[in-house]
């Protein structure tokens, strides 16, 4: 009768009925006959719970959402762990191979992107003697074979030479002494601008579809096949001598037609002249190297190569007169188209010498500027950028003093460091 005891217990505790109550007795007699198994209360419990659950059917959507949110969170954590395990040392060989392959692909990608983004060299320069490269306002002095990039300017000094070898084909340029050449490259070809000086070149047929062009201030020379030629450019003319092959020459005069030049021919062009650096009006100043004849000549020659159009001489502040040679130097500079300025160290003038600048200009500077035929005065502050504001505050009175005593004289103000640098 264990089953019946269970049922009585169920009726009492779960249903909350009193088995001695008449209605409960009737219920027990009708619905729980002697043969009833303990499945009856179990089924009743299940139906009771399911009915309660059916009354809360709105929970279904909430349950789904919560469950899916928990699964997504689990996924994220699992992915994080996967990424961590992927790079652990105990990872399998396949994973390691995958990592190495990915690294190689990435490195190749970076290298390729860097190649696209960074400028690639177009030629190699072999310097012999005094050779300089001007690159983005920097002057480099190469002593060993050096890479050249598009936009570089190569300058050769006295008794010096530069061999320029192009990287993509067997074209070379031999730049002779006292020459200045700018190099450019584009997708359609190579361009070399010979501003002044002379060169010899061997253009390879391997340059293929990319044309090779050399320009001087007077003419443009095209090469489409293997050619050897010499070219000289001076202020007044350009002369080309074709040794082997054939070139096309075009004068920069607007009316000129291009002409073919065969091996053995020598052609001079002295038509329209293109402006080269240094021929513009803005002063580009360099200090004169010295006052004897050789030093003056060197200063003018190098000045022309580096695009300098104004020479300057450091004027002593003590009131002593400069040497007589300075008069000849200024005259020679004027003769060759250069300006000549008196250069004054403003910092020393104001701070060290303890002089009154206005008085010094009137008593010392003005007579010298007039006597030596200086074109102007160049004040520089010795590179002391920290004192820029202080120096600026004394420049205007200085300018007024100068205009008073030397009307029409140019005055330059240099915040920059010593031009000799």
């Amino acid at each position: 009768m264990k089953h019946f005891e269970i049922i009585l217990q169920y009726v009492r505790t779960r249903l909350g009925l009193d088995p001695t109550d008449a209605e409960t007795k009737a219920l027990l007699a009708e619905d729980f006959p002697e043969s009833t198994s303990s499945d009856t209360p179990a089924a009743d419990i299940i139906i009771d719970r399911l009915l309660s659950a059916s009354g809360r059917s709105a929970d279904n959507i909430l349950i789904e959402q919560r469950t899916l949110a928990a699964i997504r969170k689990l996924d994220r954590e699992r992915n994080k762990r996967r990424a961590y395990h992927f790079f652990r040392f105990e990872a399998g060989t396949e994973r390691l191979v995958s990592v190495i392959a990915a690294c190689v692909i990435l490195c190749f990608g970076f290298w390729w992107a860097a190649n696209l983004m960074l400028p690639s060299p177009i030629a190699i320069l072999d310097p012999y003697g005094s050779v300089w490269i001007l690159r983005q306002k920097q002057r480099l002095t190469p002593t060993v074979p050096t890479k050249l990039y598009s936009g570089d300017t190569v300058i050769t000094g006295e008794r010096s030479r530069a061999i320029i070898r192009y990287r993509r084909h067997r074209t070379y340029i031999s730049l002779r002494a006292d020459s200045r050449m700018r190099l450019f490259a584009s997708s359609t070809g190579q361009l070399a601008l010979l501003d002044t000086g002379s060169m010899a070149a061997g253009v390879s047929a391997a340059s293929g579809r990319s044309h090779f062009t050399v320009e001087t201030p007077h003419a443009r020379v095209f090469m489409e096949s293997a050619t050897q030629f010499k070219l000289r450019s001076t202020q007044s003319e350009s002369v080309i001598e074709v040794i082997e092959g054939e070139t096309t020459l075009q004068s920069l005069s607007s009316w000129a037609e291009p002409i073919e030049i065969e091996a053995g021919a020598v052609v001079a062009v002295n038509g329209g002249r293109r402006l080269v650096p240094g021929s513009f009006g803005a002063p580009v100043i360099a200090n004169v190297r010295g006052l004897d004849r050789t030093e003056i000549e060197n200063s003018l020659r190098l000045g022309r190569l580096f695009g300098v159009n104004t020479l300057a001489y450091d004027l002593p502040l003590s009131g002593t007169k400069p040497p007589e040679a300075l008069v000849k130097a200024v005259a020679e500079a004027h003769k060759q188209g250069f300006m000549f300025y008196a250069r004054v160290d403003l910092k020393t003038l104001v701070s060290v010498e303890k002089k009154d600048p206005g008085r010094w200009i009137r008593e010392n500077l003005a007579p010298l500027v007039a006597e030596y035929d200086f074109d102007g005065v160049y004040f520089y502050n010795g590179g002391d950028l920290v004192r820029e504001k202080e120096i600026a505050s004394i420049l205007m009175p200085l300018y007024d003093s100068l205009v008073d005593v030397l009307p029409g004289t140019a005055m330059l103000i240099g915040y920059s460091r010593d031009p000799n640098a």
Binding site: T24, L27, D44, I47
Partner: protein, 197 residues
Amino acid sequence: MAYIEDIGGYNMARLEEAVQAVLRGETCRYEEIVKACSPSIRAVLSAMIEDHDMVPDLVQETFIIAYRRLDMYEPGTDFFAWLRTIARNVARNEKRRQRHRDTPDAALNRTDEDAIENHVEAIVETLPADIMDALEDCVQRLDPRARQLIEAFYHQGRSVREMSGRFHLSETAVKVALFRARRAIYHCLRKKGIFSR
């Protein structure tokens, strides 16, 4: 009647295909499984657990365990049965936790209840996936007065005392009437093949 061949309007073949997809790595397909099976799993857990507030947490736990161990499921076998086994174990663990929280007096009274709960577990194992639909159908087949009592007590949340005043019956009579209504549902379900083990 429909068993797991058509769970929540979800075809068994499609459910099996979704499981395969998740196993291949398309984890987003697990959402389909949750949507198809959660009403049935909720029914299983509701049938086993006294405290209905616990059921949502247990449904979530069931699906998380299933997701973690999905690679242990043998494709082509009965996925819902596999899921129901997990749900039953989750419910058992919950009951065990509740027992640890019981007072000594309550623990003494548990013996008879444990016997009934063992029967409950055994019956739950045989419940079809669409038990809730079958239950709803049987409620609709009750005589009007019994249906009113069931709706007032289970759906509207009325207490026995409130129903006693409303239906002009003693509280005992209300309890007996509710029991008889459930009994009628039981017989209806038996006719549908449920509870007939």
